[in-house]
Symmetry: C2
């Protein structure tokens, strides 16, 4: 495969081959190959996603893909990509950015426990990725939640990409550390079939999550590359392939393995019947409510309707208001503690097993999980992210707590949706849309209370906008969302009193964006001013600018441009020139 | 302070007060308050950055700020922000996003070892943040590098923001885990002064990095909030303040503490004299070289000139080519293994102690450290980030390895510079500029070889661009950088043959951006097409669109819009329609 492709990770596959063939064909891994969605199937994640030559070969030996297909490896039209992607039907979740697989597996193991399903989740890890902190986040949480249905296997082949790993072959060091995190640890020779089999049996009977720590040889079976640096991620020199194959001994390609079947007809545990007391928060126009709180209310309400809806929070549930769901449905809330990377990847695992996870923390702290969100997008995972405490308007806590790049981050994710409501009603309606629609969706909420501006009967859709003020005499359009929408509305009042009409648009859906309405505003008013509590780069201004790039329009930006700091919310909005006064001043200046 | 401010973390400060007063005034912490830059000074980082009421009070009791100033806490004009920022002169590095302080401290401890300086670095950690994987990345690396000048103190007060921590008061569990990571661990009662003093003495004499694990009481000293949930990040009810103060007993505000002085006249170890054999790679026009390799060559060359320049890599040095510096200067290269979060925060610590760290990994994997980069920007740290393997043009490895949102990420950082050279010469020149200029600077490099297009005498500056093709008959302008510039040049040739003149601009400096040249192109050609191997959101197109928002211009984007996958580089450039053919087609279509 790697010779035909001209690239690929041969040596990293050979070290784990004995471990994985024993898992697949030793009766341990139970999988109905004709029905990958059978919910009794065990789950397998190659966290060392580069070992795809082994990964795809296992499915071939199981008779589920052909040898001919293997030779399409890494080619443009093949589903056998360099790292596992969702285009290959047996991929549980995409990997390739290291250290994420155990967290995804943790999510699947949690789902199994929730649903009372007996399947096990296996995760193959490289030893190099054990240095990623996220692995230790998954380790600590798996023991906290007593996930004895989660089984990891570390392929300790001693060599990373550029040299030896930090711990090399010191398997007792791995054992010491992982045991300390509350796991069953089983140290074995990863090329001794009897030890490997025993290890899986032991793992199956443990009351804790289990880690098999296998000392292996990188390039095993091809003596001239065994345990040698310089062969990571490279095929053999073409002229050495014959020699390598002959070193492997007689190969009988007719010999196929058989996967053990899971029990048939297993049903997910019935979800509890809908609680009769449904929670429906009502907001009257002019009343004050923080959108973060409206989110919490709406989330709990949705939980009555969507039985697969769950919530995860990074120890901020009293700030994000996911605690409302936690109080109503303690079994459907998971405290993920302060470990955002693991939280997001675990949500991917939960989503892949049919849950609808709503994941919340401060908007700033989603930057902690940017890489995990990137893979979540490639996983096409149905996850919902909710970031509170957006912008300088959080006030006194200062810059480290302010989400000022979250819109940029979430916009840049493949296929994402980005929403930013400004009041209680629009928040509630958009949370309903989030629950209904599949895919990665981000909702940005505000810390402080804001007045309700919409009637309970107003409708909101992903990709929409609301033109709140409009007349034939509009001289400019102010585009805002969230906190700045209220500043825009105040500016409208002041300008109107002075005889200047402006249009005001609530751009609550930032991606997808309502270009048609924006284009109409260009045609009718000529001048557009975007006001946002976010940095200019990648934010609402650039989203607007991007969709109007073919239009003849004067576009102005009011955004966060000075080093943010502590202060009262209104002081900071003034300092950054994104408040009512700044809007009025800008309009007057441009119309002069 | 918290009563006057109306917000702030009182209870989290009280739990650590005995620990920190003993450190400051028990003769352990050596600091010349009149000269914070004395390089013999010990260093202190509050990783639990929310404990600022304690942090600022310590400096007040040391006589370095006044009590009156304390009462400006969290106010707009005060430097005493909610979380430590660089505006306060004793802040070593900003904190507030949890779990980063130990890594920053690790960087400072590494700098001390490099320079042969005897200062110690202390880090106060909260127990809640111990769940962040980054802390374990710092723990594993500090023991790997035997940093016995790094001393952590965990304030185990059992309660997080929304409830109990994962481990609560089980200090033996902390001891087990941290010992397993190779640290000296000292478990104490964090309110027993004799145990605290003994712990610091023990830590000073250890041959390993030390962690003091202190069992404490949140809200200590104010009985009605002691060890109670619901008082995180909140001042006391105003009417209870008097009662709380009287509970603390007699307070003598005249009693100030004295900080022990560091030894005077300590000089940093002399750096080795400049190696006489300087490495100067020369590239001739038309020859082929990957910009990642040119980066490695230039980095090693700069290391001869800048004696404070060092390199950090996340186990990818043979791909990023930082290995060239590693080979020339093994003592100035730090293998940070696969732990990008710790790598970036450690670089901040190193930069704060005068080093010029160049930090490299795949461009995609900087997303792993987005939160750390965010604080690095607020730290105003002089760090350089270099991301290789940008874009779909990496080919067969597939989406997980492709940097497609890195420009967006780095553009959104406060005060950042973003560079993207296309050939060996421009890379070399821009690396020189990076070393010369202070601040957070990102360089994006390409995996595949590209032809050298610039003469060795060409000059490049941050904020500049190069107009490579230009005539009076230009009908459109193609803006590109990196790999797509070469596609643009090929398109130019094909169009010219067909009698269509286009302008070609190499936009190697994406932030700051050369608006003047772009505006001139608008005026002279009317139509601009931006071609980039990156997602549209937050990328080069939006940077261009943003700076031309007030111009009447037709702007077109050719960027990565389809789910990326494995394949040959040229197949993927074609698939995403960012290759020569796509450019030619777009120009013809628009000029029709």
């Amino acid at each position: 495969m790697t010779d035909t492709a001209g690239s690929g990770h041969l040596s990293s596959s050979l070290s784990a081959t004995d471990l994985m063939t024993t898992l697949f064909f030793g009766g341990f891994f139970k999988f109905d190959g004709n029905n990958p969605e059978n919910n009794g199937n065990d789950r397998l994640i190659f966290s060392k996603g580069h070992a795809t030559p082994l990964y795809y070969s296992l499915w071939a030996v199981a008779g589920l893909i052909s040898e001919k297909e293997l030779l399409t490896y890494r080619k443009f039209d093949s589903v056998l990509e360099g790292h596992p992607s969702m285009r290959f039907k047996y991929t549980e979740a995409p990997t390739g950015s290291l250290g994420q697989g155990l967290s995804m597996g943790l999510g699947m193991a949690l789902a199994a426990k929730m649903d009372g399903l007996g399947y096990k989740t296996y995760v193959l890890l490289g030893d190099g990725e054990m240095s990623e902190g996220q692995v230790w986040e998954a380790l600590e949480l798996a023991s906290h939640y007593k996930l004895n249905n989660l089984i990891g296997v570390i392929d300790v082949n001693r060599l990373g990409q550029s040299g030896p790993t930090m711990i090399e072959w010191d398997v007792t060091e791995y054992k010491k550390r992982i045991s300390a995190f509350g796991w069953e640890t089983i140290v074995i020779d990863g090329h001794n079939f009897s030890e490997i089999s025993q290890a899986y049996s032991l793992a199956h009977s443990s009351s804790k999550p289990s880690m098999i720590i296998a000392k292996t040889i990188k390039g095993k079976g091809v003596p001239f590359i065994e345990n040698k640096n310089g062969f990571h991620g490279k095929p053999l020199p073409h002229e050495k392939v014959g020699e390598a194959i002959s070193e492997l001994g007689d190969i009988d390609k007719n010999l196929l393995g058989t996967l053990a079947k899971p029990k048939i007809g297993i049903d997910a545990k019935k979800s509890p019947p809908r609680n009769s007391i449904s929670r429906v928060a009502q907001y009257s126009i002019g009343s004050m409510v923080a959108t973060r709180k409206a989110y919490g209310e709406a989330l709990a309400q949705m939980a009555y309707e969507y039985l697969s809806l769950i919530a995860l929070d990074g120890e901020t549930s009293n700030s994000t208001y996911s605690e409302i769901l936690k109080n109503d449905f303690p079994d459907r809330f998971f405290e993920m503690f302060i470990a955002e990377q693991n939280m997001v990847s675990a949500a991917v695992g939960l989503a892949k097993r049919g849950k609808i996870p709503f994941v919340s923390t401060f908007s700033a702290f989603f930057t902690r999980a940017h890489d995990q969100l990137r893979l979540a997008a490639y996983a096409e995972a149905n996850i919902k992210l909710v970031g509170s405490h957006a912008g300088v308007s959080i006030g006194e806590d200062g810059s480290s707590q302010m989400g000022l790049e979250d819109i940029s981050l979430f916009r840049s994710l493949f296929g994402s949706v980005v929403l930013y409501p400004s009041d209680g009603v629009s928040t509630k309606k958009l949370v309903e849309e989030m629950a209904k629609n599949k895919g990665l969706t981000y909702l940005r909420t505000t810390r402080m209370e804001t007045p309700v501006i919409y009637d309970e009967n107003e409708k909101f859709e992903i990709g929409g906008s609301k033109t709140l003020k409009s007349s034939r005499e509009d001289k400019a359009t102010i585009i805002a969302a969230g906190i700045t929408l209220h500043e825009a509305l105040k500016a409208y009042e002041e300008l109107e009193t002075a005889g200047i009409n402006v249009r005001v648009i609530d751009l609550y859906s930032i991606k997808p964006i309502d270009c048609a309405t924006l284009e109409k505003a260009v045609e009718e008013t000529g001048l557009l001013i975007v006001v946002e509590d976010h940095y200019k780069e990648g934010g609402i201004f650039e989203a607007v600018s991007s969709c109007l790039s073919k239009k003849n329009v004067k576009l102005e930006s009011l955004s966060v441009t000075k080093m943010p700091r502590s202060g009262k919310p209104e002081e900071l909005l003034r300092y950054e020139e994104i408040d009512k006064d700044a809007i009025v001043k800008k309009v007057r200046e441009l119309l002069r």
